[in-house]
C-alpha cells in the first residue's frame, strides 16, 4: 500500500512539475519580447495601466536574470500564491479572480460528477439485468455520451429558459440580488444552478451507465459467479457481489474521466454565463489575458490532481486487495 501511494504521489508530483514548467516555458518560446507583445495583444481595460503593467511584468518575468533563476522565481511566486495581475480585470490579482470563481465551478462539478456516477452505475446494473431495460437504457446512454456538453447545455437553456421561461439562462444569481446569507438569495442561487447542473449530470450519466453495464455483464460471467450459481446461490447474492466488484473499475474510470468532466463543466459554464472558471477562461481568451489563462490552467491541474488523489484513497478503502498489498489499482 505504501508502494501504491508512493507511486501515485510520484506521478502526481511529476505531473504538477511538468505543468508548471510548461506554463513557464510557453510564453518564453514566443518570439520577441513576450511582455510587450502580450500587452499589445491584450485588451487592457484601462490604457493608463499599460505602463504600470509593463514594469510589473518585466519585473515578474525578470528577463535580465539567468534562466534558472527565472525558473526558480516562478516557483517561488507560485508558492506565495502569486499568479500575477489580470490584464482584463486590472488591477485585480489573478489569484483573487480564480478563488472567486472556483466555488461556482466546484458547486457544478462535484454534485454532477458524484450523482451521475451513482445514478449511472445503478442504471447500468439494472440494464444488465433486464433485456427491456437494456434496450432502452443503452441507446439513450449512447446518445447522451455522444452529445457535446455545450450542445445539451444550449438546448436546455433554450428550451427551459428562452422558450418556456422556467429557468434563468445566465449568471450565478440574479443581477438584482447581492450575495448574502438570506433564504431568497439561496433560492435564487439554486434556481440558476439547476440547469447547468442538470445538463452536466445528464451527459455524464450516459457514460457511467454504459460502463457499468459492460463491466457487470463481464462480472456475471466470471468464474466466481459461475461457481456460486453451481452451488445454487440466489441471483440476488451473485448480483450483489458482481455490482460490488464492478464498482472498482468504475472508480478507476472516474479518475480517468476527470479531465473530460472538467472540460464539460467549463463549456457548460460558458453557455450559461455561469461565473466559474469556464467563463473566466473565455474572458481570458477573448481578451488575450494570458496571465489569467495560465493561472486558470494551474488551478485546474492542481484540482484534478487533488481529485485523483482522493479517488486513490477511496479505491484503497473499497478494494481490499490494495490493502493486502498484492496488487494496486491500474495506475
Amino acid at each position: 500500500m505504501r508502494r501504491y501511494f508512493g507511486r501515485k504521489l510520484l506521478i502526481y508530483g511529476l505531473t504538477f512539475f511538468m505543468a508548471v514548467t510548461v506554463n513557464w516555458l510557453v510564453p518564453r518560446l514566443m518570439p520577441g519580447d513576450p511582455v510587450a507583445s502580450m500587452l499589445a495583444r491584450a485588451r487592457v481595460a484601462q490604457p493608463e495601466a499599460q505602463e504600470a503593467l509593463r514594469v510589473y511584468y518585466n519585473n515578474l518575468f525578470g528577463f535580465d536574470l539567468p534562466w534558472w533563476q527565472q525558473y526558480l522565481n516562478s516557483w517561488g511566486s507560485l508558492f506565495r500564491g502569486d499568479f500575477g495581475i489580470s490584464l482584463w480585470a486590472f488591477p485585480t490579482p489573478v489569484a483573487d479572480l480564480l478563488t472567486r470563481a472556483v466555488p461556482y465551478s466546484l458547486a457544478l462539478l462535484v454534485p454532477s460528477i458524484l450523482l451521475s456516477w451513482v445514478v449511472g452505475n445503478r442504471l447500468g446494473a439494472l440494464a444488465a439485468r433486464r433485456k427491456v431495460l437494456d434496450n432502452t437504457v443503452l441507446p439513450v446512454s449512447y446518445v447522451l455520451t455522444a452529445t457535446p456538453y455545450l450542445w445539451l447545455a444550449a438546448l436546455m437553456a433554450w428550451g427551459f429558459g428562452v422558450v418556456w421561461g422556467i429557468f434563468p439562462v445566465a449568471g450565478g444569481y440574479s443581477f438584482s440580488m447581492t450575495p448574502s446569507f438570506t433564504w431568497d438569495f439561496f433560492v435564487d442561487l439554486f434556481w440558476h444552478w439547476l440547469l447547468p447542473f442538470s445538463s452536466l449530470f445528464l451527459v455524464a450519466l450516459g457514460g457511467w451507465a454504459i460502463g457499468m453495464r459492460n463491466v457487470i455483464i463481464y462480472e456475471l460471467e466470471s468464474d466466481y459467479a459461475n461457481y456460486m450459481s453451481a452451488l445454487g446461490a440466489p441471483q440476488k447474492l451473485i448480483r450483489r457481489y458482481a455490482f460490488r466488484n464492478a464498482v472498482l473499475p468504475q472508480i478507476t474510470g472516474l479518475a480517468l474521466q476527470l479531465g473530460v468532466l472538467v472540460a464539460g463543466a467549463l463549456v457548460t459554464e460558458i453557455v450559461f454565463s455561469y461565473p466559474g472558471l469556464g467563463s473566466l477562461i473565455l474572458a481570458a481568451i477573448q481578451n488575450k489575458d494570458f496571465f489569467l489563462l495560465q493561472g486558470a490552467f494551474l488551478f485546474i491541474v492542481l484540482g484534478v490532481l487533488i481529485a485523483n488523489f482522493i479517488i486513490d484513497v477511496v479505491y484503497v478503502i473499497v478494494d481490499p486487495r490494495t490493502r493486502v498489498g498484492m496488487v494496486g489499482a491500474a495506475a
Partner: protein, 280 residues
C-alpha cells in the same frame, strides 16, 4: 476468419446503422461542398431566415447560408476527428507496443509518461497551447488533440501486447532472430488488428468532441468552418435569445449523430470480432 467476420458484419444491426449514418454524413461533407458555389462565410442574402426551400437550414444574423456552413463544417469535423484520432492512435500504438513488448526500463519510463499525460486535464493543456501558439488551422488543431489523447490507447495496447508477448508464435519469431520492429509489425499488430481498429474509432469520436469544445471557447481553426465553430458563433451572437434555433440545433445534432454513430458502430464491430459477444 475474414469471411466469418464479414458474415457477422452484414448481420449486425448496430454496425450497419452506425456505419450507415457515418457514411451518409461523410458523403454530405465530402461531396456537398461541390454543389455549393459560394464560400460558407459569404453573406448571401436575407438575415435570420428560418429553414426553407431556398436556404435549407436558414440564415443567421449576418445572412450567411447555414446549410453551406453545415456542409463545410461536417467536412472539417470529420477531418479533425480522423486526423486527431489517427495521430493519437499512432502515438498510442508506438508507445503501447514498445512498452508492452520491450518491458524493463523502457516500459517504466513510457508508463510513467503515459500516466502523467493521462492525469493532465486535456482541455486545459490544449487551451494553453492553442492560446499561445495560436496557429489555428484544422490540421494544427487535430495535431494538438492527437498529442494529448493517446494515453488510454497506449495503456490498453500495452496490456494486449504484454499478453501476446508470451505466445508461442512470438517466441518462435524471436528465437529465429527476427528483430523487435518486425515482430511487432508482423506478429503482434496483425493479431490485435481488430482491437486497434476499435481503439481508433473511439479516439475518432473523442477527438470530435474535444474539437467542438475547443471551437466553442474560441480556440477553433480560423481558416475553416466547423460544426463547433457554428455553435460558438451562435452563442456569441445570442442565437438562443433571438430564437434562431436553426443556428445551433443542426450543428450540435450533427456532432451527436457522428459521435453516437461511431460509438454504436464500435459496439457492433466489437460483437463481430469477439465471438463471445455474438448473440445466438
Amino acid at each position: 476468419m475474414k469471411t466469418e467476420a464479414l458474415y457477422f458484419a452484414v448481420r449486425n444491426t448496430k454496425l450497419l446503422v452506425g456505419a450507415g449514418i457515418i457514411l451518409v454524413l461523410l458523403g454530405i461533407g465530402v461531396i456537398g461542398p461541390f454543389f455549393i458555389e459560394k464560400p460558407p462565410t459569404e453573406y448571401v442574402g436575407m438575415q435570420m431566415q428560418p429553414p426553407g426551400a431556398e436556404y435549407w437550414l436558414g440564415t443567421n444574423t449576418f445572412g450567411q447560408d447555414l446549410w453551406a456552413q453545415f456542409v463545410h463544417g461536417l467536412r472539417t469535423t470529420f477531418l479533425v476527428g480522423a486526423l486527431g484520432g489517427g495521430i493519437a492512435a499512432v502515438i498510442g500504438m508506438v508507445v503501447g507496443f514498445l512498452a508492452g513488448y520491450k518491458g524493463g526500463w523502457i516500459d517504466e519510463i513510457l508508463n510513467m509518461l503515459t500516466n502523467i499525460v493521462l492525469v493532465l486535464p486535456t482541455l486545459a493543456v490544449l487551451f494553453i497551447l492553442n492560446a499561445y501558439i495560436g496557429v489555428r488551422s484544422a490540421g494544427m488543431q487535430a495535431l494538438f488533440i492527437g498529442l494529448t489523447q493517446w494515453p488510454w490507447a497506449a495503456r490498453s495496447i500495452r496490456a494486449q501486447t504484454f499478453s501476446l508477448r508470451g505466445r508461442d508464435f512470438v517466441d518462435l519469431a524471436r528465437l529465429s532472430g527476427v528483430g523487435s520492429g518486425r515482430i511487432i509489425a508482423r506478429e503482434i499488430a496483425p493479431n490485435m488488428s481488430s482491437y486497434l481498429l476499435l481503439t481508433f474509432i473511439l479516439l475518432f469520436g473523442g477527438s470530435i468532441l474535444i474539437a467542438s469544445s475547443l471551437d466553442f471557447i474560441g480556440l477553433g481553426p480560423t481558416d475553416a468552418v466547423s460544426l463547433g465553430l457554428m455553435l460558438q458563433q451562435a452563442h456569441q451572437w445570442s442565437a438562443m435569445h433571438l430564437g434562431l434555433w436553426w443556428w445551433f440545433v443542426p450543428p450540435g445534432a450533427g456532432i451527436t449523430l457522428i459521435v453516437g454513430a461511431l460509438y454504436v458502430a464500435n459496439v457492433g464491430l466489437d460483437e463481430v470480432f469477439n465471438p463471445k459477444l455474438r448473440e445466438l
